[in-house]
């Protein structure tokens, strides 16, 4: 069953194209990590799905309906980001009352207990919260609303590491007890990767990768060793990324080796390591360690 489906969906602002002819299906009750570099279009995609902004072309369906101005989509969807505004005059307790009014599956008890755990008294006003505390509050609302489609856009902004860990744990526990479709975007892939079932990589105005996280991991291998050795033995593989840490070089290569080839590499003294999903993501989007070195190297040459 598909919760979200896009057919050739495009989003443009005048002449600026944000997303170009995107085709995508998001399965029901899976946690999908939405990743991509700044400005890749993650937020735009999620806001279209939430019905906040309108697609410029193509066919977008959420629960089988076009989300823009759909009451049913809105009633079954919640979108959490740091732009999420609540009235200045309201206390956290007041806001929880409003949540109860609007979200059919709202669990007020859970929300209260989580806020208590995160030391957020209900009498506080939302506007006086620090950035991190505000993120925590919004995230708690997102978890307790139990919407069949729950989207978090950069939910951990400003949270300290303990709060981030607690948030991911709370989200997982509530998801196991009440499965729902979750989209979760973050730049800290390494922190959330264990939580994910699928990864959606937005790159170049479209989809760079979409599939199970294990598939993303298995796309690549990391070869570590002396650069000269690597250049002799590993040069015939498609190298996605090269980086150097001290005397050792690490190449991330396509995982398309026969067992015999790998044995040969090992015997040449090359370490073969699995690539974590976050490293695979970083390699695919050219963000791996040392990438910026190229800029300085180029300047030195000039």
């Amino acid at each position: 069953m598909q919760t979200i489906s896009l057919r050739d969906v495009t989003k443009k602002y005048r002449s600026l194209t944000i997303l170009d002819q995107v085709n995508l299906e998001i399965r029901e009750n899976a946690i999908t990590g939405v990743v991509g570099r700044n400005g890749a279009g993650k937020t735009t995609l999620m806001k279209m799905i939430a019905g906040f902004i309108k697609e410029s072309g193509g066919e977008l369906r959420v629960f089988g309906e076009r989300p823009f101005n759909s009451l049913s989509v809105s009633a079954n969807t919640i979108f959490i980001d740091d732009m999420m505004g609540f009235p200045d005059a309201m206390t956290l307790g007041d806001i929880l009352v409003e949540c109860e009014r609007f979200y059919a599956k709202w669990d007020g008890e859970l929300a209260k207990r989580l806020l208590e755990y995160f030391s957020l008294p209900l009498v506080l006003k939302h506007r006086i919260l620090s950035k991190g505390k505000r993120s925590i509050f919004n995230a708690v609302v997102g978890i307790a609303a139990r919407c069949p489609l729950t989207m978090f856009d950069e939910p951990i902004t400003g949270m300290d590491s303990a709060a981030r860990r607690d948030f991911y744990r709370a989200l997982l526990k509530d998801y196991i007890a009440h499965p729902r479709t979750i989209l979760l975007s973050s730049h800290h892939v390494e922190e959330m990767e264990d939580l994910l079932e699928d990864v959606l990589l937005i790159d170049g105005k479209g989809i760079g990768f979409h599939g199970p996280i294990t598939e993303l991991q298995e796309k690549f291998l990391a070869l570590q060793g002396k650069r000269e050795t690597l250049e002799i033995y590993a040069n015939r593989y498609a190298v996605i990324h090269r980086s150097t840490t001290g005397p050792l070089a690490e190449w991330i290569v396509d995982n398309e080796h026969t067992e015999a080839e790998l044995v040969a590499l090992k015997q040449a003294g090359i370490r073969i390591a699995a690539v974590s999903a976050s490293d695979a993501y970083l390699a695919m989007t050219g963000q791996t360690r040392g990438g910026v070195d190229d800029v300085f190297n180029a300047m030195e040459r000039a």
């Binding site: 196991i176 067992e259 073969i272």
Partner: protein, 123 residues
């Protein structure tokens, strides 16, 4: 599959953890195995990933499914695992040991002595 250096994917770690539980008899024959949701909670991972770990054991027929009841340890699971360990893990370790010994220029007799000394220390 070839053994990897460094961190293994999490679902392989799950499978290995369950294998270890079977080998040290924390999980005995016909005991109920953790569900994918229990594993997900335990390891703080996505249930689908935990499910993948279980699938590895199911494919190797180390565990079996009872409809509606859950997953259970196969009667011969421990024997199978022990055999596999002997076959693969031990051989791999010996290979690595020999590689290292060659690098350091250590003769076989010297290796035996190290092993015997280590064993004495443990007992």
């Amino acid at each position: 599959m070839l053994e990897m250096d460094g961190d293994k994917p999490i679902y392989i770690q799950i499978a290995e953890w369950l294998e270890k539980e079977i080998i040290d008899e924390t999980l005995k024959a016909d005991d109920k195995v953790h569900s994918q949701y229990q594993l997900a909670e335990l390891f703080n991972i996505n249930p689908a990933t935990a499910g993948k770990g279980l699938t590895i054991l199911l494919d190797a027929e180390l565990i079996y499914k009872k409809r509606g009841l859950g997953t259970f340890v196969s009667a011969d699971a421990r024997e199978k695992l022990l055999a596999k360990r002997k076959d693969r893990t031990l051989h791999r370790l010996v290979r690595e040991l020999l590689d290292e010994a060659k690098l350091l220029g250590i003769a076989d007799e010297q290796l035996f002595q190290i092993i015997q000394a280590e064993r004495k220390e443990r007992t």
